[in-house]
């Protein structure tokens, strides 16, 4: 059995983003358990602190490269600190960081859980099944980009806002010079600012909502001045780079033959529907559209952790004041508990760790973390309220627009299943049309289908297998056990 050298009863943290790293660092500081952190990515940092690939001649491929990450990563100091604490734990034989390890499922077992991962570090064809026993499990699986279909969204060059930023963070700026950014949420600003700073011509940031929505959220904003400063910083960059920011506007279509060549943008009316008389065509070479993020809930759902809804109605893992889920021995931290940014994830990770080591609820540190979590959660809720998906997001969908790209299911087919065949949620639409049955298992189209079906039944898709794995890997597990 691989990894048999790991102590069988430590804490296993799934996800090496801000929440997972903060949790690991605090556990190492405060407790004496062995800590294992797994991540599907090739390094620590998660989506937020994603690192560019090291230069080919690098002697220390893991070294941070602030130069390459300029303006893209907030709070690199925190990342460096958390990472060095984990490294110290590794050096002291108290921690292990398993990158390229994708957890495909978790099951309850005597005295804790068994975490099943597929180790992809050997490359394609060399995957291995890995199993870890966890006395305590921490779900810090983050969130993924939320996209909504529109005509032309499947053209090469049309990405999610997160996808666009990932290209930047990976150091790949070989994008076309003219870029449009659309969708909704404060996240669009750093994406656009990062692009502008690297020499792209950002033809516009098309934000579907109006900033006046934030006027209703002044209390949350006032309590989070750093967020305001952060936003102001990006706004200043955009101003300096002459990037127009258009509010109550959305990208309704992407045009092009081989790849995207132009977009049509439209103003939204008071009820959130694009106005045809405001269509404007803009030449572009790349597009990034983001409608926020969906918490990655596969493991929590499989385990039967109780869920709750965030301010936007999105299902998230329900946790108590120690970040414990409804399942004993399972905590959750970060975006899985609701999308709210890296600072919140760090605070929750720390709090989860303190809960695991049995810290006192009355110590100052715990009280401070709780206050911070409450404050940042309030800001996140304000953000969700200020940046809803507009009611008319699907107006521009044509019946032939592809909604599920894996299975090539069109909007017309999905709408037919809903209107004519009585489907009331994404699961049923999937059964009738195959939308969401393909490689991504509905991670891309699921939200759109749910919205088309009338929105938020509140029960997220159940994915007992949270990442594809070769049957031979599973089969080998069996032959080993027998």
């Amino acid at each position: 059995m691989p990894l048999s050298d790991l102590p069988p009863d430590g804490v296993v943290i799934v996800g090496a983003g801000p929440a997972g790293l903060a949790c690991a660092a605090t556990l190492l500081d405060q407790g004496d358990t062995f800590v294992t952190v797994l991540d599907a990515g090739s390094g620590a940092g998660g989506q937020y602190w994603r690192q560019p690939a090291p230069p080919a001649d690098s002697s220390d491929p893991g070294a941070l490269r602030p130069d390459a990450m300029r303006g893209l990563h907030h709070d690199l100091g925190t990342f460096a600190e958390l990472r060095s604490r984990l490294e110290a734990g590794q050096a002291a034989g108290r921690a292990s960081l398993l990158t390229d390890h994708h957890v495909w499922t978790v099951v309850a077992a005597e005295g804790g859980h068994v975490v099943h991962a597929v180790d992809r570090s050997g490359g394609p064809g060399r995957e291995r099944a890995v199993e870890l026993r966890a006395r305590h499990l921490v779900i810090a699986t983050g969130a993924h980009d939320r996209s909504l279909p529109f005509p032309g969204w499947d053209l090469p060059g049309v990405l999610t806002a997160g996808g666009l930023q990932a290209l930047l963070k990976a150091g790949d700026v070989a994008l076309g010079p003219r870029v449009a950014v659309g969708g909704t949420g404060p996240f669009l600003l750093p994406v656009a600012a990062g692009l502008a700073d690297r020499g792209a011509t950002v033809v516009g940031v098309f934000e579907a909502n109006s900033p006046t929505r934030w006027l209703r959220e002044l209390r949350a904003v006032a309590a989070n001045r750093t967020k305001l400063a952060e936003g102001a910083g990006y706004a200043a960059t955009l101003l300096r780079r002459r990037v127009p920011v258009r509010t109550r506007t959305m990208i309704v279509e992407a045009h092009g033959r081989e790849r995207v060549e132009a977009v049509t943008v439209a103003r939204l009316d008071a009820s959130g529907h694009p106005r045809r008389d405001t269509h404007r065509r803009i030449e572009v070479d790349a597009v990034g559209v983001g409608w926020g993020f969906s918490p990655q809930l596969d493991l929590a759902v499989t385990l039967g952790c109780a869920l709750t809804a965030d301010a936007s109605g999105t299902p998230v893992v329900q946790v108590d004041e120690w970040q414990r889920t409804s399942r004993s021995g399972v905590s959750a931290a970060g975006e899985a508990c609701g999308v709210g940014g890296a600072a919140l994830a760090v605070a929750e990770g720390r709090l989860a760790a303190r809960g695991i080591v049995g810290a006192s609820a009355s110590d100052a540190e715990t009280a401070g973390l709780r206050e911070e979590v409450a404050r940042l959660r309030a800001f996140a809720a304000a953000m969700h309220r200020a940046h809803p998906v507009p009611a008319g997001w699907a107006d521009a969908l044509r019946s032939e627009t592809v909604v599920c790209r894996c299975e090539e299911v069109s909007a017309g087919t999905v709408r037919h299943a809903i209107a004519e065949r009585g489907a009331t949620d994404a699961r049923q639409v999937k059964q009738l049309t195959r939308a969401g049955m393909g490689w991504c298992q509905g991670r891309v189209c699921g939200h759109a289908v749910e919205l088309l079906a009338g929105g938020g039944s509140g029960s997220p898709a159940e994915r007992l297998v949270s990442t594809p794995l070769p049957l031979g890997v599973l089969a080998s597990r069996k032959s080993r056990a027998m």
Binding site: R421, R427, L464, P468, L469, L471, L474, A475, R477, K478
Partner: protein
């Protein structure tokens, strides 16, 4: 004209509605969820004669097979993804082949077409080498259960049937004589009927209690593996001969013997395990791994193929592993159509016809045909009690 309430819009309820409305009944289908939201969306769509030993279930399978072809004719095979692809049962060892051969011989005498195959790889080129032999069952078919249930229900609706989703039946309504005259939903609504059909599948026991005529239906868990889409590699349904032993077994433990088949969408389905563990929803990694190792042992190319998802369901089974179909002798007006275990998809349209026969007192089946199914009547559980 009689008004019939069908409780459950799974494949069985849909088939009942389809047959009843065709025979002129006024049908109302109630489901606490929506169409095919129960076990019907959790299974494969095998329509098999190959796995059944001679008896009432095989008779129902043969009746249903003909009925499926008629449904395909009426609603379009494409709509249902109905395919007459045939099944191949393979035996790894000479002993397994002996058992399979005698099983097939008995089936032949009951009218099943079963052809001996010396080299299964001539039928399925990607099978592993060195199998002892096999049997081809050309009558085995496949259907996409959700599409089929939805299509049959829609056809019934075109004939005037009504479908109410989100209606949880919580009780029966009876007149002074004890006759069932309708059902009550959790919303407090009373829906009147001359007859009520319990087609609640795995929840058939609960519904039967609510309606005053309890029948024992229990859950039997199964997992199915679904791969990434591939170009066609597996032409028939292929399964190993130990399946034959498992289906009719009544031991409490886990049984796995995999069935491998391709689908229209290009995915390969590997099913299915059988376990009596109540409604335990947790993923059992050992069970899933066992299915994977059996499938890769049959088809070595599958080793490199990715598993995309696993789904689980709870088959409805009666203690004697036969469905319960017919009038409840204790409650006039109540009819049962549940407990089809791992064969409810295949057996659905035959069940619909049989129910139409019982409810309407005649209907689509000749009396001598209906007489073959007395072993399925609810009476067997009433006498026990």
């Amino acid at each position: 004209m009689s008004a019939v309430v069908v409780v459950g819009a799974g494949i069985v309820g849909a088939a009942c509605a389809h047959s009843l409305s065709a025979a002129g009944a006024e049908v109302i289908v109630l489901d606490r969820g929506s169409v095919a939201s129960g076990t019907t969306s959790r299974g494969e769509g095998n329509i098999l004669v190959s796995d059944k030993e001679p008896g009432a279930e095989l008779e129902l399978a043969r009746l249903s097979r003909d009925a499926w072809l008629e449904v395909g004719e009426e609603l379009g095979r494409e709509t249902l993804e109905l395919e007459e692809k045939g099944g191949v049962v393979v035996a790894a060892s000479p002993e397994a082949l002996d058992a399979l051969s005698s099983f097939a011989a008995a089936q032949r005498s009951a009218g099943v077409t079963a052809l001996d195959v010396a080299e299964p790889r001539e039928l399925e080129p990607h099978l592993r080498a060195g199998l002892a032999g096999g049997v081809l069952y050309p009558e085995d078919m496949q259907v996409q259960p959700v599409l089929a249930a939805a299509a049959m229900l829609e056809a019934a609706q075109r004939r005037g049937a009504r479908f109410v989703a989100g209606a949880d039946v919580v009780a029966g309504v009876r007149d002074a004589s004890g006759r069932l005259t309708g059902v009550r939903t959790s919303a407090g609504e009373v829906i009147g009927a001359d007859a009520v059909v319990n087609a609640a599948g795995t929840w058939g026991a609960q519904v039967s209690e609510r309606l005053g005529g309890p029948v024992p239906v229990l859950p039997r868990r199964g997992f199915i593996l679904v791969t990434e889409p591939l170009p066609p590699m597996v032409r028939h349904k292929v399964y190993s001969a130990d399946y034959v032993a498992n289906v009719s077994s009544s031991e409490a433990g886990l049984e796995t013997s995999c069935v491998v088949e391709g689908t229209r969408g290009g995915t390969i389905l590997i099913g299915a395990s059988r376990e009596r563990v109540g409604f335990d929803t947790t993923l059992d990694v050992d069970v899933v791994s066992t299915l994977a190792s059996q499938a890769t042992a049959l088809f070595p190319f599958l080793e490199r193929v990715n598993l995309l998802r696993v789904y689980r369901g709870f088959r409805p089974y009666c203690p004697d592993h036969l469905p319960v179909i017919g009038p409840d002798p204790r409650v006039p007006g109540l009819f049962h159509a549940c407990g089809h275990e791992g064969a409810g998809i295949g057996l659905a349209p035959g069940t619909g016809r049989l129910i139409a026969h019982h409810v309407l007192g005649g209907g689509p089946l000749a009396p001598e045909v209906a007489a073959r199914f007395t072993a399925l009547l609810p009476d067997r559980f009433v006498q026990e009690a």
